[in-house]
């Protein structure tokens, strides 16, 4: 068993997913997740495919629970949860593992990330402005930096949504 600490931002979830699958291909199978923390166990390389999803509801809520059970009935397994994120895996021999097979559901998933990130912005802006008179204040600097970072993330997600919407206008899946 080994624990790796690594930072992925919300808008990098596809990069995170790729990394987890690269680890799985090398026989490092994710078995638990925490905040910036990934627990791997040695296993057979390439046996599992990993996917992660930001749910609409908390994984522990009845709605979240019912969704996770549905996925389990299709052969997927819940590896771990982090806030509203759920990490799933499925055996490679059971066929390709995707959570979304059309543009609408992919766009809806990205929108959930926007809804999660957007409320952070006014908080950060207010806090930065309130601290502005006090330029040396680390609180002002930190909240300003977080605000910029979240803005960057929101723009990245919006661009992804735009690209999918363009494709959706001419095809289905």
């Amino acid at each position: 068993m080994k624990t790796i600490h690594k930072v992925f931002f919300v808008w990098e979830f596809d990069k995170e997913e790729r990394w987890l699958n690269e680890m799985a291909a090398k026989g490092q199978l994710l078995t638990d997740v925490g905040f910036c923390r990934y627990v791997f166990e040695d296993g057979e390389p390439g046996v599992y495919q990993y996917r992660l999803e930001l749910l609409e509801d908390a994984p522990s809520s009845p709605e979240g629970h019912s969704y996770i059970r549905f996925l389990e009935d299709t052969g997927a397994e819940q590896v771990g949860t982090l806030l509203r994120w759920v990490y799933f895996r499925k055996r490679t021999e059971d066929g390709p593992f995707d959570l979304f097979s059309d543009f609408d559901s992919r766009i809806a998933h990205l929108r959930r990330m926007l809804v999660m990130l957007t409320p952070i912005l006014p908080l950060m802006i207010c806090s930065s402005v309130l601290q502005f008179h006090n330029l040396g204040s680390w609180v002002g600097i930190v909240t300003g930096a977080v605000g910029l970072l979240v803005t960057y993330g929101i723009v990245r997600i919006i661009l992804k949504i735009r690209r999918l919407q363009k494709e959706r206008a001419i095809s289905e899946g």
């Binding site: 997927a76 059309d102 559901s105």
Partner: protein, 105 residues
């Protein structure tokens, strides 16, 4: 899902076709894949969302299952059948026009 012009998405079309017989989620995925010779693979997340939308619209309904049974089964409603019939007519029009203009059989 966009129902504005009456066209069903491929996913919805195959879900409705699959539910002419009662099936659970995984059964729908397998049936759609078999019907389309492996071309249509409904991903579980997309399928779950579609099932909920179709339940809300009343095009399919959940069968009252045993409480111990985890896998909920669904089946098409009369309204769903009508939707499918209309979709067949629309698809026939598409095919007729395509064949007439592009040639082929």
């Amino acid at each position: 899902m966009n129902f504005a012009n009456g066209a069903l998405t491929e996913a919805v079309y195959y879900i409705l076709l699959s539910l002419l017989e009662p099936r659970h989620g995984y059964g729908i995925m397998q049936n759609a894949e078999a019907l389309s010779n492996g071309r249509v693979r409904l991903a579980a997340g997309t399928l779950y969302g579609a099932i909920n939308t179709l339940l809300e619209k009343g095009w399919i309904t959940a069968l009252p299952g045993e409480k111990s049974s985890r896998k909920k089964e669904y089946v098409i409603t009369d309204e769903g059948r009508t939707v499918l019939q209309n979709e067949l007519k629309r698809l026939e029009e598409l095919l007729d026009n395509g064949r007439a203009l592009l040639g082929g059989n």
